[in-house]
Amino acid sequence: MVKKIFIVIILGFFAVMLLPLAKDFTPFQELSPVAEKYVEDGPEELGSANLVTSVIVTYRGLDTLGEVAVLFIAAAGVGFFLRKEEKGDKTPKRGSSQILQSGTAFLFPLILAFGVYIFLHGHLTPGGGFQGGVVIASGMVLLLLSSASAKINENVLHLVESLSGASYVAIGILGLVLATGFLDNRFLDLGEFGTLLSAGAIPLIYSFIGLKVGAELVGIVNNMQKDQS
């Protein structure tokens, strides 16, 4: 009890310490200089309508590559962490309800298509590789939940994951070699602003990101539900 009171007290102090962040902070009326540049020149420079996307994929592309790497590490980590131990006994998986199963069969292709749509239109509309990837992953997860027999083909998963990741990096190198810097999207034609096939390599990059993220997230969930004890 004393401990709990103590914790509340120190949290109180902590809150007081952080308070100026809210209190002394006056919201800005202007964009920051960097953001201003992005908004002003971004559409012309990169050809992406969604400015968030241009920031994510190109201006701060290295962050995004890192982000993909983080997910990748997490997937590899979970897989590594929950790897089989020497002793092995398997328990039968319980089946799920009929409704979920039939529903899934109907929904799965739709979800998948939706996911692809999201990441292909990342430079035009909200959303992108990550969101699309997550959507794809949720479809797979639904599949996993619905059917006792459903098993993810890990080889395919790894193949998709590896190749999409490697392609992402390769596109980055192309940017370095063909354009002005690593992850520069402008080695492809920027195309007509606002159309699907525009913004240089952004749709391509987002596609690979989407595939990779999807594969990684599926990998995480798959590892979590797999029996390995």
Binding site: F6, I7, I10, L11, F14, M17, L18, P20, L21, K23, D24, F25, F28, S32, P33, V34, A35, K37, Y38, T58, Y59, R60, G61, L62, D63, L65, G66, A69, V70, F72, I73, A74, A76, G77, V78, G79, F80, F81, R83, E85, N155, H158, E161, S162, L163, G165, A166, V169, G172, I173, G175, L176, A179, T180, G181, F182, L183, D184, N185, R186
Partner: protein, 1047 residues
């Protein structure tokens, strides 16, 4: 040149594809894995070479936009150094882990690669948020990599790590986003320009929060319990990367955000770092678990680097300037290599308890590596930290940061306690099992050893004043050669060393002037003579010669040192060499430890003094300027003198000596006693001849020291009479004798110094003689307890004569040379009028008769023990130097003028008044006179006359058996019954009860106990509960906030 971005491209590309390659076989994936690591090394190495060659710092703009509009990476000299270090670490640790990589999933390799890549990113990126991303990459890869072993300890440690790290990343994010908004930038360099700290409380707070995130990742005390658990539990190969690599990345992050910090925050970081350094080393005192101990040391070292770095920046040194690079960089790289090496060793040995590391003894190479790492951590030459520490003290002293110096040196001393204790344990433990070291695990350790040595030598070439260090090059080369040639038999090495040292002496001596020549004779001629007993040893005597040469190098270095850097380097080399000589003794380990600690403590006092000297004389290293300083003279004097007094073993600082000298090997004891102690005197001579009569208020420091000298004589001699161990008796006697030396010097008169030098010379001669003779006896009878000996005169007559001459010279009985000192003592006492000290001093001298007699009586006279009936005379190589020293004593006794006159002549330079007036070998002072040769002749003639008379009147003397004595009307039959040896001067102890108690030991024991119990108390903070650690972190932040922002 290859674009550094390929480091990331390679790592990520390979990481992504490794799973696929693995399908083609583990060999393929392993090959690619190592190839990528090697390529990363190559890229950073190539950049380092180019940058050292004068290339411009490279900026890599991703996406082709200039910052602040896109993320950019930087490859400058600092980045090149850090990435090369990290990538090398990655390659070596990867190699180290090859067995585990082979046995587990391919994910391990992937994660490892990501971890290394993440650290590279931490170092190279110049974007704040990108820094966060790489921080997360590193941490998450580390969390996952921890799972390479999944036992409960590792898991719980990893989880605690994750929680703590989670808090840090939350703080980092908050800080970053606010800084972005206040500056409009994420590019760190532009941010620093754009940010106006004073604009609002929130701005300052944002910087503070960001700083705290990084500081927490740097494991500050006490918010670091989680880190300790990780160090203890996780696999050594991984921990090496965490302790060295991740810390490197985080330190670099701190380095990067430094431009954002104001003075208060810099001071805060300095305070945190140094507190952490002291506290974790304090707690290390109580630690038995090897890896946790290394953890404490790691945390401390990181704290030190961060603290010193912040302090330097605070003091206005340019952030990428030479000083920061040399000091903070030197300390860091030193820690980096040494700690990685130690963790690897921990994995090779796989022993939890530090006391079980004895198996290292079977592997000399790895033992050497261990020693090198430990010395590097403590900061002894020739390792980088030595030079870094040296320069740090100089710089901080220049800026009057003495409190900082004091704390850092205290922390270092504490660290030395447990590290040297560990080393000692290894060297003394019984080896039962053998360890097998695979190539993959051995190679990293060896590379680290070479690296730390190489970096040390490199540091030696860049430290200010480095040019003057060239005097050590050749000797160090010889030492290195001796390490390599250690497989040769002892006689070959001995001959080699004697010849080389003889040649060196022959070259050096004629060039020395005044007292330097005199000390040159003691140090070097004495050194050569005392190498002769080495021929008595069989086999290889591994590890003796390198360190013997190191000690003599140090001694010779003192003689020719012209600046303080040379002097201090020489001093530490001497200490180091002698430590390893002493520790060779069978039971010498704990004593060698206390020797080392006292020496280091003294050396640190000295270092502070030299730092102060450096600061007051206008940042000049020249030793000759010591005589012309006008400020802080007394403090410099005291600090330096404390340093020398520890070596001189003055009362209170003497407790290391009896054990260290007593337990050392036969020929080491005379070296360290007869020669090494004089180094302390040499230092005193240097200081005292430069700074005359310093005062504190109205009290003359020398007057105080004269009392110390007198008490030392009394105390040392009194303790000597109670010893049962012959060598310890001699050791305590040394304490007493060096008291005279101190006393004589403090008088600051011509006669006083002459007295002191006379005592020193005499002590050199007779103590070498006595230690050799007694050492020879111990060599044969295999015990040092005098009461177990007796009657050995019949078996070892030459040794007996040596001891006889030795004790006569020691006790100061005419006609031998010891009397010269006594006679001079009376003269200077009357001259100076310090008679009260004189009383103590002379009483102390009287007591010396008691142990002298005991020494010769209990060992050589009385009844011969049954088990010694077949004992032979000591080996010839031990006897030869004895004969030399006997002749030297006789010469000195007969012709004191031949020695003292030249000494007096050069003393005139310092003290023109009161010189001895020599008339045909007769010494005249204002008070009395002494004719050495005359006394010797008269005594000789009278002796011969009486002897002749006895021979004349004595007829047919019959030699009788041993037991032909009347003993309570019985004839005794067992020597034990009739040899009175044990507790010989019991009545003295009874009479002087209070005075005989070991106060100094009690004081130091009490101090040690105090430190240990404090350490034990503080470390109870680390309850093992992850939530408690979290509370620590938050309370830590609050407290720092209160300090940094509240005040």
């Amino acid at each position: 040149m290859v674009n550094p971005i390929y480091i990331f491209i390679l790592a990520l590309g390979a990481g992504f594809l490794l799973t696929l390659f693995d399908k083609a076989g583990r060999k393929v994936s392993l090959t690619i894995f190592y190839a990528v690591l090697a390529a990363m090394v190559a890229i950073s190495a190539q950049w380092l070479i180019a940058l050292l060659g004068g290339s411009e710092t490279a900026m890599i703009f991703t996406a082709g936009f200039k910052p602040p509009f896109s993320i950019n990476l930087q490859m400058g000299l600092e980045e090149a150094i850090f990435t090369l270090a990290v990538n090398m670490l990655g390659l070596l640790s990867g190699l180290y882990l090859i067995k585990k990589f082979n046995a587990t999933k391919v994910n391990a390799m992937v994660l490892f690669l990501m971890m290394i890549m993440g650290i590279n990113g931490l170092i190279m990126t110049r974007d704040m948020f990108n820094l966060f991303v790489f921080m997360e990459i590193t941490s998450i890869a580390t969390f996952a990599m921890i799972g390479i072993d999944r036992d409960i300890k590792t898991l719980s440690a990893g989880f605690k790590y994750m929680i703590a790290s989670g808090i840090a990343s939350v703080l980092f994010l908050i800080g970053t986003i606010y800084l972005y908004r206040f500056s409009g930038m994420l590019h760190i360099d532009s941010m620093a320009v754009a940010l106006d700290m004073a604009s609002s409380q929130a701005t300052l707070l944002a910087v503070f929060i960001l700083l705290m995130a990084i500081v927490i990742e740097l494991k500050p005390f006490p918010a670091n319990g989680w880190a300790l658990d990780v160090y203890e539990a996780v696999d050594s190969g991984v921990v090496a990367v965490i302790a060295a690599g991740s810390s490197a990345g985080m330190l670099f992050a701190l380095y990067k955000i430094t431009p954002l910090l104001n003075e208060t925050l810099l001071l805060t970081v300095a305070g945190i770092g140094i507190t952490t350094f002291v506290a974790s080393n304090l707690m290390g005192l109580m630690q038995k678990n090897a890896k946790r101990l290394l953890g404490y040391s790691s945390i401390g070292q990181i704290g030190l680097v961060a603290g010193v770095f912040a302090m330097l920046v605070y003091l206005g040194y340019p952030i990428n300037g030479k000083m920061v690079m040399l000091i903070a960089g030197g300390l860091f790289i030193n820690h980096f290599v040494a700690k990685a090496g130690l963790f690897w060793l921990a994995g090779i040995l796989n022993k939890e308890n530090t006391e079980d590391w004895g198996a290292l003894r079977k592997k000399p190479i790895y033992l050497f590596a261990f020693g090198a790492f430990i010395l590097a951590l403590v900061g002894l030459p020739p390792f980088p930290s030595f030079f870094a520490k040296w320069q740090m003290v100089m710089i901080f002293a220049k800026d009057n940061q003495f409190l900082v110096i004091a704390f850092i040196l205290l922390g270092t001393l504490l660290e030395a306690v447990y590290l040297f204790r560990w080393l000692g344990k290894i060297l003394e433990s019984e080896v039962k099992e053998k360890i097998k070291v695979s190539f993959a695990q051995g190679l990293p350790v060896i590379v680290a050893t070479l690296a730390v040595l190489g970096l040390g030598i490199y540091s030696a070439t860049i430290v200010p004043g480095a040019g003057s260090l060239n005097i050590f090059y050749l000797p160090l080369l010889l030492i290195a050669a001796l390490f390599v040639l250690d497989f040769l038999p002892v006689w070959v090495k001995n001959t080699l060393v004697i010849l080389l040292m003889g040649f060196y002496t022959w070259q050096l001596l004629p060039g020395l002037e005044g007292y330097r020549f005199l000390f040159g004779v003691i140090f070097l001629v004495g050194g050569v003579i005392l190498l002769i007993p080495g021929y008595a040893f069989k086999g290889k005597r591994v590890g003796f010669y390198p360190f013997a040469v190191m000690m003599y190098t140090g001694l010779a270095g003192l003689l020719i040192a012209e600046n303080t850097l040379q002097f201090f380097t020489a001093w530490e080399l001497m200490t180091l060499g002698s430590y390893f000589l002493i520790i060779r003794g069978k039971k010498a380990k704990p004593h060698a430890l206390s020797y080392m600690l006292f020496s280091l403590g003294g050396a640190y006092a000295m270092l502070s003094g030299l730092g102060l000297f450096f600061s007051v004389n206008g940042n000049n290293l020249d030793l000759a300027l010591l005589s012309s300083i006008t400020e802080s003279t007394s403090i410099i004097y005291i600090l330096l003198v404390i340093g020398f007094l520890t070596k001189l073993a003055s009362m209170g600082l003497h407790i290391w000596l009896p054990g260290a000298h007593g337990e050392a090997e036969t020929d080491v004891s005379p070296m360290v006693s007869a020669i090494l102690l004089k180094a302390g005197m040499f230092g005193l001579v240097v200081v005292m001849s430069a700074i005359q009569n310093p005062m504190i208020g109205n009290v003359s420091i020398n007057y105080v020291l004269s009392w110390l000298g007198a008490i030392t004589v009394f105390g040392g001699n009194l303790m000597a009479i109670y010893q049962e161990d012959a060598k310890r008796l001699l050791a305590y006697s040394s304490v007493g004798n060096l008291g005279y030396v101190l006393f004589g010097l403090t008088l600051m008169t011509h006669l006083g110094w002459l007295t002191s030098i006379t005592y020193a010379l005499n002590h050199f001669l007779f103590k070498a003689l006595l230690f050799l003779a007694i050492g020879g006896v111990v060599w044969r009878v295999k015990t040092k307890n005098m009461y177990e000996m007796g009657g050995l005169i019949k078996r070892m007559p030459i040794s007996f004569i040596s001891v006889l001459i030795g004790i006569i010279a020691l006790s100061g009985v005419p006609p031998l040379s010891g009397f010269a000192g006594k006679w001079l003592t009376y003269n200077v006492l009357i001259e100076k009028g310090w008679v009260l000290q004189g009383v103590v001093l002379i009483i102390g001298g009287l007591i010396a008769f008691l142990y002298c007699f005991r020494l010769i009586h209990t060992i050589f006279l009385g009844q011969l023990k049954d088990n010694h009936r077949k004992v032979k005379e000591a080996p010839l190589p031990i006897l030869i130097p004895q004969v030399i020293f006997m002749f030297a004593i006789m010469f000195f006794s007969a012709y004191p003028n031949m020695v003292l006159r030249p000494v007096g002549d050069f003393l005139i330079k310092y003290f023109p008044q009161g010189a001895i007036n020599w008339q045909n070998g007769v010494a005249f002072t204002a008070f009395g006179h002494w004719d050495g040769l005359g006394v010797l002749m008269i005594t000789g003639v009278v002796f011969m006359a009486v002897f002749g008379w006895l021979l004349l009147t004595n007829r047919k003397t019959q030699k009788v058996g041993q037991f032909n004595i009347v003993y309570a009307a019985e004839r005794p039959s067992r020597p034990e019954l009739t040899h009175v040896g044990y507790n010989f001067f019991a009545h003295y102890r009874k009479a002087l009860g209070v005075l005989s108690k070991p106060y100094a030991e009690k004081f130091w024991d009490g101090l040690s106990e105090l430190f240990h119990s404090t350490a034990d108390f503080i470390r109870k903070l680390y309850t093992g509960n992850g939530q408690t650690y979290l509370v620590h972190i938050i309370v830590f932040i609050l407290v720092v906030y209160a300090f940094a922002m509240g005040g």
